[in-house]
């Protein structure tokens, strides 16, 4: 009987305390930077980034947790952050990282090699941890050792010249984040909630609910004390769930948002017409920044009839990429030739694949598709193909967070429908899409970018489709690798070539040839269908803050949901 009363009293006290705190910490709008969040925070009380959910992109890894290095997309260098440098042995099996001196957790404890060794060991020993970064560490590292307080040595299972950029360099989205040993030790990493969270970043956690997270500046941040960086100008950072494109646009217009997620070009032009303070990556058409994650149609290769390579190839022939570019992207991107991001640094590999005859056409080839489908025994009956009384149909799951995604799938549905496949779009909320649909293979086809990874070498993308990562439907794909569950002889042959490429150093001259050789299996089996290059049109508001990343101010790319956003926040300056 006393428990509820106590609980009520406690919550009344808590409310009073928080109320008082909120008043005490009122931060003016001009001292606050507000970023757009394109998903709900399903578990705002949980900060264990090693488990699935919105645990990082709501500000945690942009303000509170810092990476060891940050890959600079402009220069191609690894900018040091919590680490100052590294050394590798000749065959890339041993990496020694030097940590920065004077780094502190926000509770005053020192950040050092013990934390690194502890966190890496957590990921290596706890099989239940499922995040992509933790799985990658587990599959690569043989052992990790502390040399002294500021030096850590990694021994790898296999040679991997990309080890640092892949795991600690924020190459795509995140990096392996180091956690404080003095708080995590003794906890089960698969269930620990890590609340209240602490980090080494210049901001500390203030509050979070399902649609926003608030982070306040720690004026006692180690970086300012040691002279690593000045304190960032914003006193408060908010990540705010904005909803759809229309509300995003309205918030930008009324200056209630400083950086918004992707909008269509028409919306951007309308925003800019009414609020000239809003800018984007380029000053002019097409405004958008190239995103390294090329779009593709994911296929679950375990579900009939799509377990048949010819059927998948038929779908690939039916896709008119030009139409997707024109309708879904309003001309702001280009058709994919291969699975790779069409960056200049990827040209040698793209050219090798195209020269070998495995490039993708920007236009559809319905006749080739028809031949393949009919070759598998399907016949047109009315509008659709049928076989044994069954209509050829497919459900395509699509993340409903952006018009770009849904409209691309609307377009593909239309193209398949016209060809005689009863395709349907199944829109799903962002969190559900990444949390439940994709990793467990509970889809026939879906729209995503899971071969994303390569920006200057081919393995990061190609290596995601090896047979090592095949798990049954219903089990979580390790790190979203091979969610297609592509298996069989061709996949084995492909995997063998991948192992060869993986061991070669960056810039090895044989690699483009090997890429082309491996690509024959992707071309023949189509475990996924590359669609178009991605471009992100992110409106950024200069009413309160300037110093946003743009093509003219290219200190790094503008994808503010990534772990490198520390750089963006440090570059922000109060508008005059």
């Amino acid at each position: 009987m006393t428990t509820p009363v106590l609980r009520m009293a406690a919550s009344a006290l808590a409310i009073a305390a928080f109320g008082g705190m909120a008043l005490a910490q009122d931060v003016a709008r001009e001292d606050t930077v507000i970023f757009d969040l394109d998903r709900t925070i399903q578990d705002p009380e949980n900060f264990n980034w090693m488990t699935p959910g919105t645990k990082r992109m709501h500000g945690a890894h942009q303000t509170m947790w810092e990476p060891l290095f940050i890959l600079n997309y402009g220069t191609g260098d690894l900018d040091p952050w919590l680490a100052t440098g590294f050394e590798a042995n000749a065959d890339s099996t041993e990496f020694t990282i030097t940590l920065r001196d004077g780094v502190e957790w926000s509770d005053g404890e020192a950040f050092n090699a013990d934390d690194v060794v502890f966190t890496v060991n957590l990921a290596m020993t706890n099989e239940e941890i499922s995040s992509r970064e933790a799985s990658t560490i587990r599959s690569q590292v043989a052992s990790v050792e502390k040399v002294d307080d500021l030096t850590v040595t990694f021994t790898l299972q296999n040679p991997n010249p990309r080890f640092l950029v892949e795991n600690f360099g924020v190459r795509i989205f995140g990096s392996f984040l180091i956690m404080p040993e003095h708080i995590w030790s003794g906890e089960n990493a698969a269930t620990f909630a890590f609340n209240p969270p602490i980090g080494t970043g210049p901001y500390t956690f203030a509050s979070a609910s399902s649609n926003r997270a608030i982070w306040d500046r720690n004026d006692n941040w180690w970086g300012a004390k040691t002279g690593f960086q000045d304190l960032p100008a914003p006193k408060r950072v908010i990540f705010l769930g904005s909803g759809g494109e229309e509300s995003r646009a309205q918030l930008m217009l009324s200056n209630q948002l400083d950086a918004a997620q992707n909008v269509t070009i028409g919306t951007f032009e309308a925003i800019q017409a009414q609020n000239p303070n809003v800018i984007a990556w380029h000053d002019d058409y097409p405004y958008a920044a190239a995103d390294p994650c090329a779009r593709q149609l994911e296929i679950n290769t375990t579900v009939a009839p799509w377990d048949n390579a010819n059927m998948r190839k038929a779908v690939a022939h039916l896709i008119d990429r030009t139409q997707i570019v024109n309708i879904a992207y309003e001309g702001t991107t280009e058709a994919s030739q291969t699975m790779f991001a069409q960056y200049g640094s990827m040209d040698p590999f793209i050219n090798a694949v195209v020269d070998a005859g495995y490039g993708l056409s920007p236009n559809a080839d319905p006749a080739a598709a028809q031949a393949l489908i009919e070759g598998e025994g399907w016949a047109k009956d009315g509008d659709y193909y049928t076989k044994d009384g069954e209509t050829l149909s497919v459900n395509i799951h699509v993340n409903s967070a952006s018009t770009e995604y849904t409209r691309t799938i609307d377009m593909i549905v239309e193209q398949l429908q016209r060809a005689g496949i009863d395709a349907r779009a199944v829109p799903v909320e962002n969190g559900v899409f990444w949390g439940e649909v994709l990793p467990f293979g509970s889809f026939e086809m879906s729209y995503s970018w899971l071969s994303c990874g390569s920006v200057n070498e081919p393995w990061a993308s190609m290596g995601r489709y090896t047979t090592a990562d095949v798990v049954p439907v219903g089990e979580r794909s390790p790190g979203f690798n091979n969610t297609a569950r592509w298996d069989g002889e061709a996949a084995e042959a492909y995997t063998a070539i991948m192992a060869d490429i993986a061991a070669r150093p960056l810039g090895d001259e044989a690699v483009p040839g090997l890429v082309a050789e491996a690509y024959q299996y992707l071309d023949a089996e189509m475990p996924f269908i590359p669609l178009v290059q991605a471009a992100k049109l992110l409106p950024m508001n200069t009413t309160y803050w300037t110093g946003w990343p743009t093509a003219d101010n290219y200190y790094n790319h503008p994808f503010f949901w990534w772990n490198h956003t520390h750089q963006i926040i440090h570059n922000l300056e109060k508008a005059e």
Partner: protein
């Protein structure tokens, strides 16, 4: 033959004659006719439109993007062209084709849902009112419980679970939430009617329950049932459009609600693409006004006291 017969009628007499004529046939009620006219116009739009216009233009990517209606300019200074007289939306769909296909679809969902709902309501209402006892208790409690549940809440859950639904599926789901009030109202009517002389006479002469319920009593309720039917069509359409505007309706089959959803989702307001959301909204207004007029008209048909005297 006296000369009086040829005297032309005075204005007042003419009006009186007209009025009497109108009273002769209560179904020639102007409100009813206007209402029916509006709905038939939508149906005709659907039928004739399919003949004279290409309904395939309703699919994504079949037309240029964001063209305004003829006579207007969009933000990019493109002018409307006669190939797409009502303009196109952000996904390359022709607005004229959209209303040709979408407006009858919206009406269809409403009619089907309330047809099913009313049938259930009539059956249950009569059973409860006439048979009484346990059956009455069960049906009454069921209807009372269901009436307290907000339908949109449950439908949102259902539809999100189903993913893509067909129009018929959606109508069936909505029908599950429009039978309660007819059931209750019909039950009340039947209870009072049960006591009337002709029903007791029929009972005494040994007519079967089914006969009494549906042959003796039902015809007396027809105008009332019509009114109730139109009211539930309105409710069904509101529910269907509500779901569609939330993006939970059929994905590929165009409906007015879904068009509004897509317009909002793609930032049509800020881009000033008023035709994208304005035209479907206007058509929805026409449908609702039509239904309202029919309902008012039916009221006057079944209740002579409501008929205007002037």
């Amino acid at each position: 033959m006296t000369s009086q017969d040829n005297v032309p009628m005075t204005r007042a007499e003419k009006q009186q004659a007209k009025r009497l004529k109108r009273f002769d046939n209560p179904w020639m009620n102007p409100k009813l006719l206007w209402g029916l006219g509006l709905l038939l116009a939508i149906v005709a739009l659907g039928l004739l439109g399919r003949i004279f216009w290409d309904p395939d233009l309703v699919f994504t990517g079949s037309a240029p993007l964001k063209l305004p209606p003829v006579g207007f300019e969009n933000l990019r200074r493109q002018e409307g062209i006669w190939d797409y007289p009502l303009g196109t939306d952000g996904g390359g769909r022709d607005m004229l084709a959209m209303i040709i296909v979408g407006a009858p679809n919206t009406l269809f969902v409403g009619l089907l849902a309330s047809l099913i709902g009313m049938s259930i309501g009539i059956f249950l209402g009569f059973s409860a009112g006439f048979l009484g006892g346990r059956i009455d208790d069960t049906i009454r409690v069921l209807a009372d419980v269901m009436i307290t549940i907000p339908p949109l809440l449950i439908l949102v859950v259902f539809q999100s679970a189903f993913g893509d639904v067909t129009l018929t599926m959606m109508a069936l789901l909505i029908a599950g939430f429009v039978w309660q009030s007819p059931t209750r109202l019909i039950r009340a009517q039947v209870l009072s009617m049960k006591q009337s002389g002709y029903v007791q006479m029929a009972q005494l002469s040994g007519a079967s329950t089914g006969h009494i319920m549906f042959r003796e009593m039902l015809p007396n309720l027809v105008p009332y049932l019509f009114g109730s039917f139109i009211a539930s069509v309105t409710t069904s359409i509101v529910t269907a459009v509500g779901l569609e505007v939330l993006g939970l309706g059929p994905q590929r089959i165009p409906t007015l609600g879904r068009t509004i959803y897509e317009a909002i989702n793609a930032g049509a307001l800020i881009q000033n693409l008023w035709w994208w959301w304005g035209i479907p909204t206007l058509l929805l207004a026409v449908i609702f006004i039509g239904l309202l007029l029919i309902n008012l008209g039916l009221d006057e048909v079944s209740n002579p006291r409501l008929r205007k005297l002037s």
